[in-house]
Assembly symmetry: C2
Homo-oligomer: 414 residues x 2
Amino acid sequence: MAKIAVLGYGVVGSGTVEVFYRNKENLEKKAGEQLDIKYILDVRDFPDSPYADKFVKDFNVILNDPEVSVVSEVIGGIKPAYDFVKSALLAGKSVVTSNKELVAAKGAELLKIAKEKNVNFFFEASVGGGIPIIKPIHTCLEANEIDDIAGILNGTTNFILTKMIRDGMGFDEALKTAQELGYAERNPAADVEGTDACRKICILASLVFGKHVYPESVHTEGITKVTLEDVEYIDSYDAKIKLIGCAKRSEGDKIFIGVFPAVIRNESQLSGVNDVFNAILVRGDATGDVVFYGKGAGKLPTASAVVSDIVSAVKHAGTSRSLTWKDSEQSFVRPFEEFRCANYIRLCADNIKAAKDKAGEIFGDKIEFLSSKKQHDNELAFITDVMTEKETLNACEKLSENAKILGRIRVLDY
Amino acid sequence: MAKIAVLGYGVVGSGTVEVFYRNKENLEKKAGEQLDIKYILDVRDFPDSPYADKFVKDFNVILNDPEVSVVSEVIGGIKPAYDFVKSALLAGKSVVTSNKELVAAKGAELLKIAKEKNVNFFFEASVGGGIPIIKPIHTCLEANEIDDIAGILNGTTNFILTKMIRDGMGFDEALKTAQELGYAERNPAADVEGTDACRKICILASLVFGKHVYPESVHTEGITKVTLEDVEYIDSYDAKIKLIGCAKRSEGDKIFIGVFPAVIRNESQLSGVNDVFNAILVRGDATGDVVFYGKGAGKLPTASAVVSDIVSAVKHAGTSRSLTWKDSEQSFVRPFEEFRCANYIRLCADNIKAAKDKAGEIFGDKIEFLSSKKQHDNELAFITDVMTEKETLNACEKLSENAKILGRIRVLDY
């Protein structure tokens, strides 16, 4: 029998215990042996829980119990999760986690320890909640050279953008609605500033490109500057604004990586991903574009991924060869100013005719002017040709002599 | 070193060899050992191939070579593929296949032999081409009770329907275009009559519900009766017509299963799947709806799935516990006349007012009348409430007293 410990009895932890006992019989069939949760670690008391006898407050009880072979860390954050996970791995226990912050910050180190100790370190739930993505990348797409991965990785911001696009709500009102519905925290910074999506694209990029990508090296922008005017102009371009995390292979074994609001054409599978749903697009050289879609957060979806990892950890003793990556130098990530894409630009000017001429002069023949149903007389919006970030910034500076730039959103071709 | 044999050097076979050698080094890293293709079986000669020395015409050479541990069957059809696969498994070799006809007809038997011989029988490429779906279901979603699975499983029919919907092409013209582009065979029956989609939903249902579902027990309709008029009315309902294969858990451990054109609302992830793309929706009790999207056919996507299975077969000696199902009795599938759904119905009548009154009388309050941009004066289209197949047929018969029924398409809520 495999004995499991669950660290943390918050939303995901209680979900994990619930999903585990609901499907126990079936899970044992899949794992090929009997399973039980022996401990639940939490600082709080749960005297009325049906699992009251499993609660412990001291992690050492779990660490020193040789019967526990799998530890499920669902506390979140770096402290004390990092210490718990590291010491569990060092003690020869497999660890599964939903903790994206931990994996994004310490993945390479923890995977290395897992390898040395010949145990598993799984984290399917850390990206895309209940969407299978980590395992499919390393067990289904290995016949592909993956050059590009991109996704809508944060449900809260996708909900806010959906409200803006569908219901014409302003950002502040949409955020308030998300908070009222429990989709956004009272302090929404980690979501709306892109931090959460950044951690997730770091994990995906590390997995796909084989070297750890640290959040600090990722160009990250949130959605706070997106306006309803942008939404309307971009609608006229048959496109939608989505917060995208993306990573692309570039020359010299380096990558581009970023998180920012992006213009996504309506024919893309990513444009139809609404509300709190997430989707991840993987571009393989053999299989083409593959998209994984589902609920990116929530108690039961996330718990379902955690429990699935528990079963895998029991079933496959020893480290998975393909689920690993090395540590990296800063230079693995190319400077973002060299990133190339088209751009949506919105501006206002007293002399709109002169500004339009100037834009045409600066951005060349391929500029495409947009119209909005609620177009203001002194406003102008257009899509540029593909150019580097640096060229775009320079061009915008030049344009500022004749106009005030109100918004700029990168255009991506997924 | 693991030695592999590829049976069949047609489109998928040559793609398999191509993808294998293109990514060999990487695949060996994933598999944890050296790999090589020792034999390619084909009745034809390929003297100019770089792999000319690997070709054999006699399967027994492969069967009797103890060095060959993995056989990749990409011939298609039952004969001789079934004999080859069965004898390879009996000889203790793992088999991977892209052959949906074989898996749908003989899956339970072949999985049983694989289990007895403690070897693998993998068939990721048999459903959804390069889309990871078989492995994610049995290794990522095991913490879920899956009650429902549905998909756009055939690229050819989806291409034809997309042409009808987007470009207003009639069925015949759209089929001709598909044939010219190489998406449809000269004899398109297996695609347009739903046979191909039927085999794929059989495989998915067998995997999800644990018992073999034979194609003969599946209610199967193709898309040949779908008209442009239907497309237009359904557009006014904010929906699209898609050929759907679906299987649902029902009472008493039985299932409903069918393949037929269906009305899918635009908010569904399945409605935005266009051209030759496929998508499969899995509805889990914990994780909710998860959708897998990508290229459902084609040389390299399919080969990519075959090669991935080869690596898995090398990596995991022994049968996968969760990738299996039992044989079943016919009674496992509930009679289709008990299947419940809403319906789109289109009719014409000399006295359209009387027909409308009659329809309201027969189908009750919840009937919803549709309008089309090109509506004919003597035509009527509407959506019924949810009812059983039997009730629908009876109602249509009654309605036929006052009208001629021109079309009926089931409405599904994915």
